[in-house]
């Protein structure tokens, strides 16, 4: 086992910014340098994910399965449907497995942590079978490649990803004066029309933030501009590109749009692209995004000084994310000795597995702890404040999981040593005493995992 230095910063780097100190790892001498180096060692496509299918492959397979079911006699449908559901569940669990493995074994835990942050900022929710199957690919394809890039590029990757287009119902949003609507006039049972879900959530959740001055008219106008943004192969369109983003001009509402006082006269796909670009660069977006980042890594109510610093970094670099992360690590507030963040169930369980050197995956555990992976049941993602996670029943669940993990852990682990290596100088006397009093090694490990020091970062 490593002999950590007594520097508190090393433990803050590992536990607050990383995903938790890992059993057997050296604790870094230069805490900030260790975090920054990870920008070089991060792998957008780690080995654990190379065998997973692309979103297009998942989409095509899902569509073929649907066709297969339709061709079956009624009596056989239920059984096949159930098998397909199982297959979808298996893929979802494999995706969670790959995400977990990267979080446990990857060389860049800070960047992995940032991936989790952004995937939650741009949340899809695995409620429907297809979204469930696509949720992992969304993070792999839209988030991971851009986590060290520009915010605007991540935004484009997100809003053109099939998982997002389908989850927020953009794929079938049709302009009332589009070519498609005119053709359908008088014969379709359902009148083609827009669906403003994605347009609204882009403004409210992904970019500007709620109450930043846009109106219902802006939302509707943006939804008109977005018409045509869809997934190929959903409706007999370009088969060769099935499962990837497609702009279908037939769905697009013709004409210029005015959004937040600016007129967008562009034709076709360029129109909504221009709106997205402006949104990505707006001051409101900078404030919204960096406040969430500061809340996630530092404290539930981040101080204005910190938010201002990050906002300037965002705006001056035109949304260059590593510049923003550097500004965060350069802020004194980020290194406050007191651990202010209560870990979410995901953070807690990943840090527990890292602490024990385990590589178990945990799709079901996450659900039992109240935070099923990629399933916040809302496009706002999971909440990021203690009040949402610290609750009586939630604590009991953690104790139950800790007990199970401890029983499976290496029986030669000495919790007192592990505590010194993982928590360092902030280990309290109370916890040290209780660990020493435990009547078995497993009991001591379980207590360590639920100790106040381990519940916060």
């Amino acid at each position: 086992m490593s002999t950590p230095s007594d520097g508190r910063h090393a433990f803050i780097a590992m536990n607050r910014f990383g995903l938790g100190a890992r059993l057997g790892d050296e604790s870094p001498e230069d805490a900030k340098g260790w975090l920054l180096e990870q920008f070089e060692t991060y792998e957008a496509k780690p080995a654990a994910m190379t065998d997973l299918p692309s979103s297009a492959e998942i989409f095509v397979a899902y569509r073929e399965d649907g066709a297969e079911i339709r061709d079956l006699p009624e009596v056989k449908r239920a059984r096949v449907r159930q098998e397909l559901r199982k297959r979808g569940q298996k893929l979802y669990e494999a995706e969670i497995g790959a995400r977990t493995l990267s979080a446990l074994t990857g060389q860049a835990p800070f960047v992995e942590h940032l991936v989790h942050f952004w995937a939650n900022h741009f949340a899809v929710s695995a409620d429907e079978p297809l979204t469930k199957a696509l949720a992992g690919s969304f993070e792999r394809e839209a988030i991971r490649p851009h986590v060290l890039g520009r915010f605007e590029d991540m935004l484009f990757a997100v809003e053109t990803h099939p998982a997002m287009l389908l989850y927020l119902n953009q794929n079938r949003s049709i302009g009332p004066n589009s070519i498609r609507a005119k053709r359908a006039a008088g014969r379709a049972s359902r009148k083609p029309g827009i669906n403003e879900n994605l347009a609204r959530e882009i403004l409210e959740l992904h970019t500007l933030g709620v109450r930043t001055g846009y109106s219902q008219t802006d939302v509707t106008q943006f939804a008109f501009a977005m018409t045509g943004w869809t997934v190929a192969g959903h409706d007999g369109s370009d088969e060769a590109k099935a499962g990837v983003f497609e702009f279908r001009s037939q769905f697009h509402e013709p004409g210029a749009r005015t959004i937040l006082g600016k007129t967008y006269a562009q034709e076709g796909v360029d129109q909504a692209e221009a709106v997205l670009s402006d949104a990505a660069r707006s001051k409101a977006t900078a404030t919204h995004v960096v406040t969430k980042l500061a809340r996630h890594f530092v404290t539930d109510e981040p101080p204005t000084s910190l938010v201002k610093r990050l906002q300037s970094a965002f705006l001056e670099s035109q949304g260059d994310l590593p510049t923003v992360y550097r500004a965060l690590l350069n802020a004194p507030e980020a290194w406050e000795a007191k651990a202010a963040k209560f870990k979410t169930p995901w953070e807690w369980s990943i840090s527990a597995l890292r602490a024990l050197g385990s590589t178990t995956t945990m799709a079901r555990t996450a659900k039992q702890l109240g935070q099923p992976v990629w399933r916040p049941q809302s496009p706002a993602g999971y909440d990021d404040i203690a009040a949402s996670w610290a609750a009586p029943d939630a604590l009991v669940r953690r104790v139950e999981v800790a007990e199970r993990l401890a029983r499976k852990a290496d029986p030669t682990l000495d919790a007192r040593e592990v505590a010194r290596a993982l928590i360092g100088p902030s280990l309290s006397e109370t916890t040290a005493i209780e660990l020493a009093r435990a009547d078995s090694p497993a009991m001591a490990i379980a207590l360590l995992l639920v100790s106040p020091e381990f519940q916060r970062r």
Binding site: E196, Q368, D393, L395, R397, R404, S428
Partner: protein, 382 residues
């Protein structure tokens, strides 16, 4: 200090019958009444729940969402319940449920998260208040009963605040041994936040032994009934439901959602037995949905919606609505059902009457700065 609650619990578990604790003098009045708030997160479509089938504009607006009036549970000449709400329709016939239409919180934008924040906090603006109205309601009751309870692992905003509250949700995790639990108590002794949470968690332990570990709607109703039916159990409870944001394929999804809600309330009623006569269940959502169907077989975010009131003391068998109508000129901003009743006043009146509290005082505590509404009193009997 003698822990009266645990003493009573021991009696309850041992003998199965209970003597109500001797009446003690409190600043507030003891009540046998129970109040349950079920939130529908995601903006439930009120027009497909309490359907104004008698409004001539409905079919034109709803298009592909239209439900055959023959399948609906008729309430009166204008309104009918969605076909999935069978138990609720039965309660209506037994005069134990009533429905409120065209009701809305003071929130007039269309963000779920701001809307839920206003509905739960009772603030005049989103994120103005850090605590919830259900917590403030709890502080109006004497401290002799158990804490208000959320049937979820964590505490929803409506229940957060100064008054102690607790949470419980069935878990399929194996239970941790008692020895570990005792040691965790010691571990948290010096940590005020965790100590308080842990103490409440330990109070709930073992109370729901008979409840199934299932988390389907009917099981949630059964679990809630187990807690609420105990004589000295919680008087205030909250259940969260999600999945109401039906932007697409609304017809099937809403039928499933409403069926689940119907089953949950049905199971709650069945589990409560005699206590049902003292119980009021209020169901509400953050806002409604567009009057017209959108282009994808669903509806987008709207304004007014419906609320439901169920329970033994409810003055059921009526629909409360100052019906604004669905003609284009009558829609809010040309698209949504117009709000004609305040949801916050409704909540305060119903909560006060359910728990036998002073109405005006309750209104001031729950929704300070908002107008009282005398027209919606008397919905819950004494």
């Amino acid at each position: 200090m003698m822990d009266r609650r645990n003493f009573l619990r021991g009696a309850a578990l041992g003998a199965g019958t209970l003597v109500i604790a001797p009446r003690m003098v409190f600043a507030n009045v003891e009540t046998a009444r129970r109040f349950v708030f079920i939130i529908q997160r995601g903006a439930a479509d009120g027009l497909d729940t309490v359907i104004p089938y008698g409004d001539p504009a409905l079919a034109g607006l709803r298009g592909p969402l239209t439900i055959d009036p023959g399948d609906m549970n008729k309430l009166d000449g204008l309104f009918a319940l969605h076909p999935s709400l069978e138990r609720l329709a039965g309660f209506y016939r037994d005069k134990q449920s009533l429905f409120v239409q065209a009701v809305a919180s003071p929130y007039r934008e269309r963000s779920h998260f701001d809307g839920q924040n206003m509905l739960e906090s009772g603030g005049l603006r989103p994120y103005e208040r850090p605590d919830g109205w259900l917590n403030r309601l709890s502080s109006l009751l004497p401290k002799s009963q158990e804490e208000a309870i959320a049937f979820s692992p964590t505490i929803p905003l409506a229940l957060r605040g100064a008054a102690p509250v607790t949470s419980y949700a069935p878990s399929s995790l194996p239970e941790a041994p008692d020895d570990l639990l005792t040691r965790v108590s010691a571990l948290y002794n010096a940590d005020s936040e965790l100590h308080a949470l842990w103490s409440m968690a330990m109070e709930n332990r073992g109370l729901a032994d008979a409840a199934s570990a299932k988390q389907d709607p009917a099981s949630v109703g059964t679990t809630a009934a187990e807690f609420l039916s105990r004589p000295n159990g919680p008087r205030i409870a909250m259940i969260e439901t999600a999945g109401w944001d039906t932007h697409a394929t609304q017809k099937q999804r809403l039928a499933n959602q409403l069926h689940g809600l119907d089953q949950m309330i049905g199971a709650l009623r069945d589990g409560l037995g005699d206590v049902w006569k003292d119980t009021t269940v209020l169901v509400a959502t953050e806002f409604g949905r567009t009057a017209a169907a959108n282009g994808t077989g669903g509806t987008d975010h709207g304004t007014a919606s419906a609320a439901m009131l169920v329970g033994g003391a409810v003055q059921g068998g009526q629909v409360i609505a100052d019906w604004p109508g669905l003609a284009t000129g009558n829609l809010y901003e040309g698209r949504d059902l117009a709000p004609t009743l305040d949801l916050d006043a409704l909540i305060a009146m119903v909560a006060a009457e359910s728990l036998e509290l002073d109405r005006e005082k309750t209104m001031r505590a729950l929704f300070p700065g908002r107008p009282f509404n005398h027209k919606i009193t008397g919905l819950v009997g004494a």
